[in-house]
Assembly symmetry: D2
Amino acid sequence: MDTLNIGGKMLKNRLFIGTGKFGDNRILPEVIKKSGAEVITMAVRRVNLDSKDKIDNILEYIPKDCILLPNTSGARNAEEAIRIARIAKAMGCGNWIKIEIVWDNKYLLPDNEETIKATKILSKEGFVVLPYMNPDLIAGKKLIEAGAQAVMPLGSPIGTNRGIKTEEIIQIMIDELDIPIIVDAGIGRPSDACYAMEMGASAVLVNTAIATSDNPIEMAEAFSMAVKSGRKAYNAKLGKQRKTASPSSPLLGFLSEGDAN
Amino acid sequence: MDTLNIGGKMLKNRLFIGTGKFGDNRILPEVIKKSGAEVITMAVRRVNLDSKDKIDNILEYIPKDCILLPNTSGARNAEEAIRIARIAKAMGCGNWIKIEIVWDNKYLLPDNEETIKATKILSKEGFVVLPYMNPDLIAGKKLIEAGAQAVMPLGSPIGTNRGIKTEEIIQIMIDELDIPIIVDAGIGRPSDACYAMEMGASAVLVNTAIATSDNPIEMAEAFSMAVKSGRKAYNAKLGKQRKTASPSSPLLGFLSEGDAN
Amino acid sequence: MDTLNIGGKMLKNRLFIGTGKFGDNRILPEVIKKSGAEVITMAVRRVNLDSKDKIDNILEYIPKDCILLPNTSGARNAEEAIRIARIAKAMGCGNWIKIEIVWDNKYLLPDNEETIKATKILSKEGFVVLPYMNPDLIAGKKLIEAGAQAVMPLGSPIGTNRGIKTEEIIQIMIDELDIPIIVDAGIGRPSDACYAMEMGASAVLVNTAIATSDNPIEMAEAFSMAVKSGRKAYNAKLGKQRKTASPSSPLLGFLSEGDAN
Amino acid sequence: MDTLNIGGKMLKNRLFIGTGKFGDNRILPEVIKKSGAEVITMAVRRVNLDSKDKIDNILEYIPKDCILLPNTSGARNAEEAIRIARIAKAMGCGNWIKIEIVWDNKYLLPDNEETIKATKILSKEGFVVLPYMNPDLIAGKKLIEAGAQAVMPLGSPIGTNRGIKTEEIIQIMIDELDIPIIVDAGIGRPSDACYAMEMGASAVLVNTAIATSDNPIEMAEAFSMAVKSGRKAYNAKLGKQRKTASPSSPLLGFLSEGDAN
């Protein structure tokens, strides 16, 4: 079976989803179900265990059999990311962590250098570390050395729905790095997700495109199908592109055997 | 239910497939099954009713409940296309016809003017006419006047797997024409098919990308999922693209309430 | 010398410009001068010979040594285009004519079929005919047969500044047709014009991008340089694209002769 | 006048060129002249002062009034880059240095982290530092802090002629960073260079596309014009893109005042 091994977990579904920006968290269980996602990311900040109102607590809406991927959003350097990761573990969110280190508030682009530092420390502490990163082959190699279990390069800035604008470098990372590449951020359409999988990405993470759709539940299912489709196509191998045409049907000779040129 | 009405038939599946270029026709039934296609195109030329060897006859491999869409490939002008259409009907292929009029052997680009002529005559004779065409808004309007039940603009030359390179004009046709637009030719990847559906195409026709894959049966299923995904996303409405980022997770303030900027 | 022969005129400059949309026609002479354009298009409708106010008359602003390329904008079929062409000639605008037949007011996309008809008649009458057209290889071949001296496929709809979105078909036309291809409409940036020339186009026609710039005179010069640059690169032949890197500088061995891998 | 200030030098020409890969160095003076380049990069490794054969010494072919931009190609970490920079200065190549730190031999993608380290040290030593980098907003901010006088993000891998595939991040860098952005590597066509300038880049560096052209001297001139064109267009401000058409010429009413719709 075509499974994805991350940190010893054998994943069947290659769509990871995020839980931010949903107008009403109560649709989350249905969104997750339709997406088929096994890995769910959420900001540690939003896990409010003390609240009396369970509606405040995102964890209430994530099925127990999902793998939690708490993210360190809000962290502006390695130290803060490390602290958030430890809090997440202490809260019972498990030992997976998506490192997000951002101090650029306009484009939310990550700090690769700090991300490498945090990865090194958290990996040693036994975390399964999945760093969000600016696409960069060399930073990818350093993240592997630092112990990352997968890397998550961005397709375009978070929440923009602009698609995979960084394809050039992501394709090189897929071809050169011996670790799962999960395209994260910017995926705006199912066709983007499908394309990422055709490129050979191991998985994609989608949040905004689902959460801000007119119909998040339907959109979750659309992404699920797109990811499966793209993976299947990758495994079945895509045909080569040609410059000139190649007939699907016999061209000439039917009515005009004699004078075909 | 989200059905597509062409010539009075209510189609549930928006992937049409072609039967050319398969190395071995015996896999066709499985390909068709996995594709879910209800409409199957084949060159009239290849329907060899006289052959003793049933393997020569493409019709043997198409399930009886599919709608046949015989195409006029080999026709170089309206007159030849009309003759081929009539032969198809006489052979028992039904009254659907895909008009393909091509006399450019390098890129197999169609002759819109002759296509309009043939459409006019065949529509009057009671055919359900689906013309293959060079993307062109005005030719599309004329084909509607001529009685076409759908129009089939090309994404890129037949058999090239180059994708939807003519998006600019196809999008205008989708927005402006009150008839199903079926993107035909050039679709090379499931993500292309998914994207066409997201654009608002009513269906896509795929042949080469499935037939020449290492694994046509798997690829047929991949395309089927991609088309369903794209249609679902179109119906659920895609989110808008933004230029700057929009956080999925709360940005700051977790560890640093006091000094957030 | 690298000249472009159209209708017996040997052109040295491959940027044609249009005269519409300029806020103030009095800058036209300077725009034309900086563009270096030898061929200037204007709507016959705007040539108001009767006006007492010379400011109304576009011809007053076009240097006498330019070749006038009156266009038939406003024509909705071949008959109207033919009448406008004849009026232009009678008015003393010469015998060049750009056929523009449009009845779609939203995208201003041309009617290729009517354009072919008008070309046939006007060519026989001795006009040098340059038809504006929807990109279409077969229509291009028919326009050549009809006597066109060049064909003018659109890059994207008139006035959109969207660039050469129809590249796929225009490149095929350049490669296959034995007549000058002049990319017209949609060119929004000098880099678009440069790219068209690198593709092998014989010339480009630019109007909106110059006329609606904050500084039309500077923009005219920018386009002039871009067209010359693209043509020069086409003649000098562009290098091939590679998938992997190729060092410009010696890679290793400077400080590390011994251990270079 | 529109000059570019780098390290106190007021540059008039925004095309920088490289000296690698020329089949015959003796054409270099003419290439440089036609390019108009004021800044010329060359690998320190190739400066062979000891050679008796002047043909070995690249410096012999660079006019004395050009600014030398020696690059550290061959360096695999900050330390090696620093040593090469110091050698270059000692050799009389001036105090400009392009830091190139590469240990990936397939795509020649740079190591941003090491590049930041080298920049910090060399800037303090009084070098005018221009680092070659993987496009990355945050690394760009750190390079500014480290004292870089400009940053040189890659458009695509060195020598590939693939164009500006990293546009998404480079555009953000141009918009956000308060330092000259010089697009380096991958520029394959004059239209790429023109486009970079239209985006707002301060300059471009071109080597392979000129050196490997059939006619490097002509190609140098083509790039020179393209860069000037793109800069001029940037200053004159490009028009906005529209979705629907906007007529350049009056649409209707010429022959049909009465019935225009």
